[in-house]
């Protein structure tokens, strides 16, 4: 592999071998003035990742530029591991993977080498096709949802699936995404974190800026302890790996969205089961937030059998969001609890009376 390629695909095994030969300690990477450029580039990479545009140099004029690019990846990993936000890790992995995909499509000669490095078993590399072992095909095509990507619709022969270069580039993207995502966060010793603390803070600030754009904070801080019982149950179910009914999943996502949780955080809430499918979940969550769907009212929840563990506050509200805002109100104004209660009791009596009246009317 050319040195330039190692710079562009620094997560490949061959790159790791090269990097370990450089024999640069993380401490010197974090502190030495010689690596100032690499550290700046690392932060610049993370900014690129969050803005959805990870650009890399089209060419390098000398070896030291290449080195900066390679080391910036290592340093970015240290920073991201220290910040340790699942959404950031995922974005980082995804953007690197997309970059690889786009680069391979422009330079298809890279396909055999990268495929080999990623451990793909393949043969018969032709001008526009390659035969890849079906186990690799299945592993990295699972996230592709179009029916023509299913193995059942591919040319399959003696364990190999014949696909186009475009398709193999897509599999490579997925393999790289998984490889990076599962390698993070790396364990960063405290003293190393200490040495990088300014840069870590900077990444945190960038990340928080990014989060702000996605979070609508009408409800202020999110307090799961104040969620209505139905939503609490759904969350517990998700955490224990129970598959939610579609209607309940919709209710949960729209509820979390309505109270101002960011898309990435909602997706994260589902990221507990081994079957978690990032693309699928993210599609569903984005669909709900894009259309600004409102969480279903209590009556709808009851209709679909999604109303669980009704408590006394439930008696007073008609909408799960109403439950939450009421709870928040009480938690912020504990002294008002009594007055509100008194008011409610009064209302209740009035209701009872009017009900009685109605009944009497009926009888009459």
């Amino acid at each position: 592999m050319r040195l330039e390629d190692i710079a562009l695909f620094p997560y490949l095994n061959e790159s790791s071998v090269y990097i370990s030969k450089l024999d640069i300690s993380p401490e010197s990477l974090a502190t030495s003035r010689a690596f100032e450029k690499a550290r700046r580039r690392a932060i610049n990479r993370i900014e690129g990742v969050l803005s959805g545009d990870l650009s890399k140099p089209a060419s390098f004029s000398n070896e030291s530029e290449i080195l900066v690019e390679i080391l910036s990846y290592i340093y970015a990993r240290i920073l991201i591991s220290s910040v340790n936000e699942a959404a950031l890790i995922r974005k980082f992995a995804l953007q690197e993977a997309i970059f690889a995909h786009d680069t391979i499509l422009k330079n298809k000669d890279l396909i055999p080498e990268i495929s080999k490095d990623l451990g793909f078993i393949f043969k018969d590399v032709e001008i526009d096709s390659v035969a890849i072992h079906f186990t690799d095909y299945i592993k990295y095509s699972l996230s592709l949802k179009n029916i023509s990507s299913k193995m059942v619709n591919k040319r399959v022969e003696s364990g190999f699936v014949t696909i186009t270069h475009n398709e193999v580039a897509r599999l490579i993207q997925e393999a790289i995404r998984i490889k990076i995502e599962f390698s993070l966060p790396a364990t960063i010793p405290d003293d190393l974190q200490e040495l990088c603390s300014n840069d870590i803070k900077e990444v945190e600030t960038i990340f928080n800026e990014f989060k702000k754009d996605y979070v609508d904070t009408d409800f202020g801080e999110i307090m799961p302890g104040l969620f209505p019982p139905c939503i609490r149950k759904a969350l517990t179910d998700v955490k224990s790996g129970v598959n939610l009914a579609h209607s309940m999943r919709f209710a949960l996502v729209s509820f979390l969205y309505n109270i101002g949780m960011g898309n990435e955080d909602i997706i994260n809430a589902f990221n507990v089961s081994p079957d978690f499918d990032y693309e699928k979940t993210s599609y569903q969550v984005n669909h709900i937030s894009k259309n600004e769907y409102k969480c279903p009212a209590c009556s709808t929840m009851v209709t679909y059998g999604n109303c669980f563990g009704k408590d006394e506050i439930c008696e007073k509200i008609k909408h799960p969001l109403g439950y939450y805002s009421r709870k928040i109100y009480f938690s912020k104004n504990p002294s008002n609890t009594k007055t509100v209660k008194a008011k409610e009791e009064k209302e209740e009596t009035e209701k009872e009376i009017s009900k009685k009246e109605a009944k009497e009317k009926e009888i009459n």
Binding site: K139, L142, I147, M151, N153, K154, V156
Partner: protein, 402 residues
């Protein structure tokens, strides 16, 4: 089950295990084992989380305990005997297929009919395993379950680390789930001796859309093509009234299909070139779509509407140990070579016990067929061959003794 019967079965199972040919699974010391004993029956108590360091240890246990059922994990664990799953450290799993008559749609009535049906599905699956997935025969272990079906253990190292979702995708493949017309229908120009514009087809010189079947020489493309030819031939042999009745086609279209069916050159052209462009005003897409749907049903492995799939997808499941006895029948969970399946007769070849007659008391009327003999037993005392007597005791319909 009374004490005497339990004791008798244990004794007989013990004798079997003393002499039986039992092979340890690959990486024996990484497997979790589970056993069900006769003693607590009718209660079924599974003792799990057991592991063996050596083949000798495993044999010794089987002979000493003579369990009614023994299972081992399809998974490889770093700590197979750990009492909770998340401490076992999963290191991979064999790929398993479980074809069980219980789960096959439209289950047949008698035991032997059920087994015959499962066998035909099993033969189909072998074809997928060797041709499509390219597994070597020495990596495929086929086992009669001793009950109602067959198990496949695939030991290919390439499948070891596949997750559940990937394994379910393999099941989707063998069932033909998600076959799409457009993936198998190609519009590229076709070459063929039985050419466009030949005299037999009304001097048609140009065909606006030249359809052909993609990948007609391998995988599902080959299955669909073969199925289509067989379908055409089969239908052409029927009476006119019955012909092509299970597809949607106009009378003219049916007539045209018949023309193709009767023409060996045309059929050959389909098989070799995937040709589908025989007539101008004919909606081959519609016809082909119906063929694909039928092919998925007929040629795909009927791997059970719902139950079989979780077996393949479950990467921590316990599966009956090949060579052990099935405590619900007394039959051997018998390994079969792939080329022996065709002639394998489960209801005689899998017997663990001899023909000598022993006394049993039948508690309720029971009919069955074993070794080509039909039995129709009322309540009462009988002397019947040992394999049959043990079968009845294991099924829970008879007691030992006169």
């Amino acid at each position: 089950m009374d004490e005497l019967t339990k004791r008798f079965l244990r004794f007989e199972f013990q004798k079997y295990y003393e002499k039986a040919e039992i092979h340890a699974p690959p990486s024996l010391n990484m497997r979790e084992w589970g056993f069900i004993q006769f003693d607590p029956m009718p209660e079924i108590i599974m003792r799990r989380h057991k592991s063996f360091g050596s083949y000798g240890e495993m044999r010794e246990y089987l002979t000493a305990m003579a369990p009614a059922h023994c299972y081992y994990s399809v998974a490889y664990y770093a700590a197979p005997a750990a009492p909770v799953m998340n401490r076992k450290e999963w290191k991979g799993a064999d790929l398993i297929f479980d074809l069980d008559a219980d789960h096959l749609p439209g289950a047949k009535k008698t035991y032997s009919e059920m087994l015959e049906h499962v066998k035909s599905e099993t033969l189909k699956l072998i074809d997928f395993l060797t041709d499509d997935f390219g597994f070597y025969e020495n990596n495929i272990e086929l086992v009669f379950s001793g009950g109602r079906g067959y198990h496949f253990h695939i030991y290919d190292p390439k499948v070891k680390d596949l997750g559940s979702a990937e394994r379910r995708e393999i099941v989707n493949y063998i069932r033909g789930r998600g076959l799409s017309v457009d993936s198998y229908l190609s519009k590229e120009a076709m070459a063929g001796d039985y050419g466009v514009g030949s005299k037999s087809f009304k001097g048609m010189k140009k065909v606006p859309e030249k359809y052909s079947i993609k990948n007609q020489d391998t995988g599902w493309g080959k299955r669909i093509t073969k199925y289509m030819i067989e379908y055409l031939v089969k239908e052409s042999e029927k009476d006119e009234k019955e012909r092509f009745n299970n597809i949607q086609a106009t009378p003219t279209e049916k007539k045209k299909l018949l023309e193709i069916s009767k023409n060996p050159d045309a059929l050959h052209d389909i098989e070799v070139n995937g040709r589908l462009d025989f007539f101008k005003a004919f909606d081959f897409r519609k016809f082909f779509k119906q063929i694909i749907e039928m092919a998925a049903d007929e040629v795909g492995v009927d791997a059970g509407a719902s139950v079989d799939e979780p077996v393949t997808g479950d990467i921590k499941r316990l599966i009956r140990a090949p060579g052990s006895l099935h405590g619900g029948t007394g039959f051997i969970a018998k390994k079969i070579k792939l080329d022996e399946l065709e002639n394998f007769l489960p209801l005689s070849d899998a017997f663990a016990f001899g023909k000598e007659e022993i006394p049993v008391r039948v508690g309720k009327p029971f009919s069955f067929e074993l070794d080509f003999k039909e039995y129709d037993l009322d309540v009462g005392s009988y002397k019947i061959p040992k394999y049959a007597a043990i079968y009845l005791m294991c099924r829970g319909v008879a007691k030992y003794g006169s």
